[in-house]
């Protein structure tokens, strides 16, 4: 064959000119900016600030229509108390949603864990710290079931958690025999379980330890999501699982651990729940799934994964809490409150989108 020693070619002629290439790459005027433009740039750089603005606008709107009853420090702190459970469960849900999953079993895990803690401590008389630890372990166990089904059998999280929701809830009803443990008994035998219900007054506002707990949890998760490799991997996995795998991320391990962590957070949510309602009821938490997903989505996360922030979820929960509280304080019939909440959620998210658009 053509073995006529065609010597190795050099670079094509036109490529030789490259060494003379200019090193300047692009230039951009730095213009003096008006305050509005500064705001725009701030929002562009800090997208989580947008739901915060929507929250402030909602508070202002209700303050305007409902008046001081709504705006009192006490009432505002009450709203924070009212969103504690959803804030905690929403934190678990946020982690799952970032990975493009969904967890329909969070409510069932929470109530199952609260029943386990209560039964062990109150009915069986175990020391409260042990009951608490076993409850948290049970939450982790539920997470293990979800995580294993999602990663080993590669089933859609929707199906897995829909199924485990039935399973965990049935276990809860069976184990509790559908019996409520009364607040008085918990207080007498295992006050630790109610610890998060203790409240402190600060300038007329009343915060429960549960509220602080929720804020601490949110701060911790914020750190994990934004300042650790694990957090970055969660986003990568939710964004494009194939790309993440090709980039060398152990997607299954990440997914598995996120379900376990969510289970643990739900167990902590159970603790907050006992603190809030005092008693331990196997009927609790039935709206937690939808409410937590709502908070996550109102907070700006995408159910398609890869986008979402924990602060957004907290604000999302607060926005919904403000609507419900504000409407309850106004003189609107419960039926029309539902109606109004429907519209207000849509308006809040539309406002959010609009602010993002003009600030883009």
């Amino acid at each position: 064959m053509t073995d006529i020693g065609s010597s190795r070619p050099a670079a094509q002629a036109f490529e030789l000119v490259l060494d003379k290439g200019e090193s300047r790459v692009a230039e951009f005027e730095v213009r003096a900016r008006s305050p509005l433009q500064k705001l725009q740039h701030f929002l562009h750089a800090n997208p989580t600030a947008v739901p915060a603005i929507v929250l402030l606008l909602s508070v202002a709107a209700f303050g305007f229509t409902v008046g001081s009853r709504f705006l009192s420090m006490f009432n505002l702190s009450l709203i924070i108390q009212q969103v504690t459970i959803i804030g905690v469960i929403g934190a678990a849900q946020t982690l799952i949603v970032i990975t493009a999953g969904i967890d329909l079993s969070v409510g069932a895990i929470m109530v199952l864990c609260s029943v386990i803690m209560g039964k062990l401590a109150v009915t069986m008389g175990l020391p409260a710290p042990i009951a608490f630890v076993v409850g948290v372990a049970a939450g982790a166990g539920c997470g293990v079931v979800n995580g294993a089904l999602v990663t080993r059998l590669k089933l859609p999280p929707f199906i897995v958690t829909l199924g485990t929701w039935s399973i965990f809830f049935a276990l809860n009803l069976w184990y509790s025999a559908s019996e409520t443990i009364r607040s008085q008994e918990v207080a007498k035998i295992a006050p630790l379980l109610q610890a998060l219900g203790t409240s402190v007054n600060i300038f007329g506002a009343r915060f429960t330890y549960g509220s602080f707990f929720m804020l601490g949890l949110v701060a911790l998760i914020w750190f994990v999501l934004n300042r650790t490799a694990f957090g970055r991997h969660l986003y990568a996995v939710g964004d494009d699982p194939d790309a993440a795998r090709l980039a060398g991320i152990q997607t299954d391990r990440i997914l598995f651990s996120v379900y376990v962590i969510a289970g643990v957070i739900c167990a902590l949510g159970a603790w907050a729940l006992i603190g809030r309602i005092g008693s331990i009821s196997p009927q609790a938490g039935q709206t937690a799934n939808l409410d937590s997903i709502t908070a996550v989505v109102v907070g700006g996360a995408s159910l398609f994964g890869g986008r979402g922030s924990i602060v957004g979820t907290l604000i999302g929960a607060l926005i919904v809490g403000v609507f419900r509280n504000g409407l309850a304080l106004s003189d609107v019939d419960v039926l029309w409150q539902e109606f109004a909440v429907g519209w207000l959620i849509i308006i809040a998210v539309a406002l959010d989108q609009w602010i993002r658009k003009v600030s883009a």
């Binding site: 070619p9 290439g21 300042r227 970055r232 494009d240 790309a243 795998r245 980039a247 060398g248």
Partner: protein, 265 residues
């Protein structure tokens, strides 16, 4: 004759025999063989759909072949995932780039091997050293002449096609310790950027790392490859020496216009 498909006396660094992969009725790999020697640049060329990407996906753990065996430095290996291959020092630029669109350039460069803060902040709090990662990412991209990007914290989905490819190439070149595999790394790159990538490949080889380069650009292939693996219809047709053959020969083999005299073992 086809040039040294087997270099006698030298163990191939990465070797594959009889790789097979079928998708339903499509045969992507049909008893494909592959040899990569230490310190060489091996080009893989072939028509579209010849199975080049499937081959390197099998070599890098992204695809588990139906049959066949892979040896690394003479030892049989079974990569179950790209992570296994990375752990063995094999870095890959995939044709699909494998970037996470909503993460920043710096995050993408260090995905899966983030740097942690020194001291307890890193070991206990597992806090990332974002400054260092951003600095290194910026350096690597500047080397490639890709700092037209505005900010190292720009999300990858906002980059132009070429800029994205640059990020993927920079990542692989920075981390590959034994083998760097590049699937059409200059496809979306401009003249200047392509040249920088070729220089980068030579650099990588100078570090003693072997490079597998898939490319449709014959002048580039003939300029830098030590050997050229010609892939056709899912299998290795032959391996040629770029100094002994012309580009026309290579194109003729790869398109089936002419058959090589001696088929590689």
């Amino acid at each position: 004759m086809s040039a040294k498909p087997n270099v006698p006396g030298v163990t191939p660094l990465l070797q594959a025999r009889g790789l097979n992969k079928r998708y339903g009725r499509v045969t992507a790999l049909d008893h494909a063989d592959f040899d990569l020697y230490p310190g060489e640049i091996l080009a893989v060329i072939g028509d579209n759909g010849a199975g080049k990407s499937s081959l390197i996906r099998a070599l890098s753990g992204a695809l588990v072949p139906d049959a066949g065996e892979i040896k690394l430095a003479g030892m049989p290996v079974a990569f179950r995932s790209p992570l296994d291959a990375q752990a063995a020092g094999i870095e890959t630029v995939y044709q699909t780039l494998a970037l996470s669109p909503s993460l920043s350039i710096a995050d993408n460069m260090f995905l899966g091997r983030e740097l942690r803060r020194p001291g307890p902040l890193g070991t206990i709090c597992r806090m990332l050293d974002r400054k260092a990662m951003q600095r290194i990412a910026r350096e690597k991209l500047t080397e490639l002449g890709l700092m037209t990007v505005q900010s190292i914290n720009q999300r990858v989905e906002t980059l132009s096609g070429g800029q994205r490819q640059g990020v993927a190439v920079a990542r692989a070149a920075a981390f590959g310790s034994r083998v760097v595999i590049m699937d059409e790394p200059t496809a979306a790159l401009g003249v200047k950027e392509s040249r920088r990538v070729l220089e980068l490949i030579l650099d990588v080889r100078r570090r003693g790392v072997s490079v597998v380069l898939i490319s449709h650009n014959m002048p580039h292939v003939f300029e830098i490859a030590d050997r050229i693996h010609i892939h056709r219809l899912g299998r290795r047709l032959t391996v040629i020496d770029p100094k002994a053959y012309t580009m026309s020969d290579a194109v003729a083999f790869m398109t089936g216009a002419r058959a090589p005299i001696e088929v590689a073992a």
